[in-house]
Symmetry: C2
Subunit: 471 residues, 2 copies
């Protein structure tokens, strides 16, 4: 306002009119295409001079906020500002913006090191099984290669998934399973089904960063509860439910991202009682289930898929290129979810579903997972040991998470994770600084490491150098 | 209200309180989980007795609209009603519900005949080329089979698409192209980017039925303008813009679905002038482009991708099982679209993109399309001739559409398309009755036939029988 008022008698009055209109547009009291009050009318109603209103309207038009239509007055433009996730409040530094880390990693060339990314190196995935399965599918004939998948997805795959899910203590028929294009697609579909704009959604702090990006795309209001080594802090969880009335809670059980923590049965039970009392629904993202040596507690198994819906995927364990995830939900939700899926994506990939089915069926997935678990344990041990020499320490009391690829670490005191990630990027290394995962921005001293992406010695060289300065 | 008041002194006052609360919930002045005013407070504020409020609250609780929490008052339930597209007003007969026709066709077994569906029989698609391409991709190595696609999608595919699009008079660089999972996914992403709940969106009447389902999923308000043989009725288009201030117009240019009509340059030009004057954006769904013998006018080529964004797909011409579509947009929209894509789907299928690229590159797609166009012309001629014997007549003055698989027909007077579709279904034949495509429900005498799905003589036998009755 100061800049505007300089040298303009009455400039602050102009700025006041401009602010007032901007606020009405932001609050959608004035919607795009709406006609603004006439200059005479506005001046009379707000007790300012007509020349002030003319000046304010002209400046807003110059900014593109409103548009003049000759002979017809001024209208709210608004169409010039499509939904830009990066601009939704709170605006974050790009380096701790959840979307930025995803984009950096997805766009990175092979020369870039990615200890901050959320996936396995492709050499860890079952290349031969994928090649064989693609060959099988190619020979499968007309319908598989050319036709739309059925709305629920392959019946054979859903039956097989039902049996696999039963092993984790979740009882569901094949008709309660909807195949999606990915885990993210599954959550997106459920958000469409369960929440409306401005609904409150509860997440863990820290949580998988894309939950935040996805919820912003749904125009949800995000609140978060600190995550402990055994699950969310139950007292703060209860307080958040009472104060904010969330409609939905999104979490990873099993292997928690980014902390590697494990939900205990006692916490699961207490959470579910609160969830029932406060009429909340839960999306339990279980995409890391196959990494576990022993299945931990699942909200979905305790709840019997009443308030909890589970989602899974094969992007982390089989292939991120073959897109295939799934939703396991109560029977009366499936119809509505299928309708939404057809409306917004029409159909899934029959080829992708058949490739996953072929690999799950022939035993090669089981053998791959056995090897993968052992390899993950080794990499976890090795990374923990090597990080110890730099003063970077695991957050879990047990030091090593029981399963998975993520190690959530505290940096030596005085080292800021975001600044470190910025330095690392200059050296061609993508890190995942704590605040990317923290809706409350309270994880500035934390870093998530992907132990499968740490083989290059340059990573530890850079970390050693950075930590030397503060020790 | 009458039923409630019967036998209840003061029943209408109870009903009035109930209505008032229901309205506040519907308007989201009371959101799910919100505490209702205390009984004493409500009674005092609205000048009714406490017993009336108690009665109203109890009845609403019995209906599940609100919930009582012992000692803590009453709260809005609301979590019991997730978004059910089938229940959004206006409620349609299931047989003319846009989603129902999609689901019927997608769920149908091979024994069911589908002259109402929107795709080619798999035998019309290039099986050998698909098999060969899958083989090539299987041998392509680690990254292709296992890794996420880059955020924009394969650079080689985007470069190739840019050249193909240029042949239709649309100038765009590869960086203006975003690969999506399908045409529907492309439109969904653009709706996320361009519209907010309650925004008005303009469609053609008739239009592709899934536009309506998709817009309902976005909670948009749909208005429609009659489509003529040369494009939308320009005068009614102008009137709709002036009256309803739509933010977006979604249409098929090239080959219009369901009518097969062709947008003429003069209509395209007049539409664009209106679109500019009223600050509207346009999604031009061009998924049937490759069916055309000669490219018709495109809004995107006249507009230079300023207000018009184009989408394309390979589901209709190559494979519906390999999911691959794309968006061609102005450069300054791409970043925001990529952010939304990552947030809601994370990544596309690298395998799918590579399969499409392999087929486009080696000339087999060009040969397939040449054959396909000739085959479509023959089927169109044959279907037109055979329908003529039943009194079912093409709507276009030219009788046959210049390209594509759809024939939009008027039934003999007195025959209701929805009723006919119902009868046909009993005989294992899925038809697409006119009102599925008509937001105004004014196409009750029309039927869309897919000429590639009409080879079974039972279809014409059934149509002959049905039309005999009214002739």
């Amino acid at each position: 306002m100061d800049t505007i008022s300089k040298g303009h008698p009455g400039g602050t009055r102009v700025a006041h009119v401009m602010d007032s209109i901007r606020q009405r547009i932001a609050a959608r009291q004035l919607v795009p295409g709406a006609r603004l009050p006439s200059i005479r009318g506005y001046a009379a109603a707000t007790q300012v001079s007509k020349s002030t209103v003319v000046d304010a309207y002209d400046r807003l038009a110059a900014e593109g906020v409103i548009r003049s239509r000759p002979g017809a007055g001024f209208y709210v433009a608004g169409h010039l500002a499509p939904l830009a996730l990066a601009e939704i409040e709170p605006r974050l530094e790009r380096s701790v913006d959840p979307l930025w880390v995803s984009r950096q990693s997805l766009e990175a060339s092979d020369a870039i090191l990615k200890p901050g990314c959320g996936w396995l190196p492709s050499s860890w995935l079952p290349q031969e099984a994928l090649q064989r399965a693609l060959g099988t599918v190619a020979r499968a004939g007309d319908a598989t290669l050319a036709e739309y998948a059925s709305p629920l997805g392959s019946a054979a795959l859903r039956q097989l998934l039902a049996r696999r899910i039963a092993q984790r203590g979740i009882s569901a028929s094949a008709d309660q399973i909807l195949i999606t294009d990915s885990g993210t697609h599954a959550i997106d579909l459920l958000c469409r089904f369960l929440i409306e704009p401005n609904d409150v959604v509860l997440v863990d702090d820290p949580c998988y960063f894309n939950f935040q990006a996805l919820l912003r795309a749904h125009r949800a209001r995000i609140i978060s509860v600190p995550y402990t080594a055994h699950g969310p802090d139950v007292n703060l969880f209860a307080k958040a439910l009472a104060e904010h009335h969330p409609r939905l809670y999104i979490t990873n059980s099993g292997v928690h991202n980014p902390t590697g923590a494990t939900l205990t049965p006692v916490i699961a039970h207490r959470l579910l009682k609160l969830i029932e009392a406060h009429d909340v629904h839960v999306i339990e993202d279980d995409i890391f289930a196959d990494f576990e040596h022993e299945p931990a507690a699942r909200l979905a198994s305790f709840d019997g898929l009443n308030r909890v819906v589970q989602i899974g995927s094969f992007s982390k364990t089989l292939s991120a290129s073959i897109r295939c995830g799934y939703i396991v939900a109560r029977p009366d939700w499936i119809e509505g979810l299928v309708d939404l899926r057809i409306a917004t994506a029409f159909s899934g990939s029959r080829v992708a579903q058949e490739v996953v089915l072929a690999i799950l069926k022939d035993g090669s997935y089981r053998r791959h997972i056995d090897t993968l678990r052992a390899r993950l344990s080794n990499a976890m041990q090795e990374t923990t040991d090597r990080l110890a020499t730099t003063g970077i320490t695991p957050w879990l009391p047990s030091a090593m998470p029981p399963a998975g690829m993520f190690l959530w670490c505290r940096l030596p005191s005085g080292l800021d994770a975001t600044a470190l990630a910025g330095q690392a990027l200059l050296q061609g290394i993508i890190l995942a600084p704590g605040n990317v995962f923290s809706p409350s921005q309270s994880a500035g001293e934390f870093m998530r490491f992907n132990v499968t992406q740490m083989s290059d010695p340059n990573i530890f060289r850079m970390l050693a150098q950075a930590t030397r300065g503060v020790r």
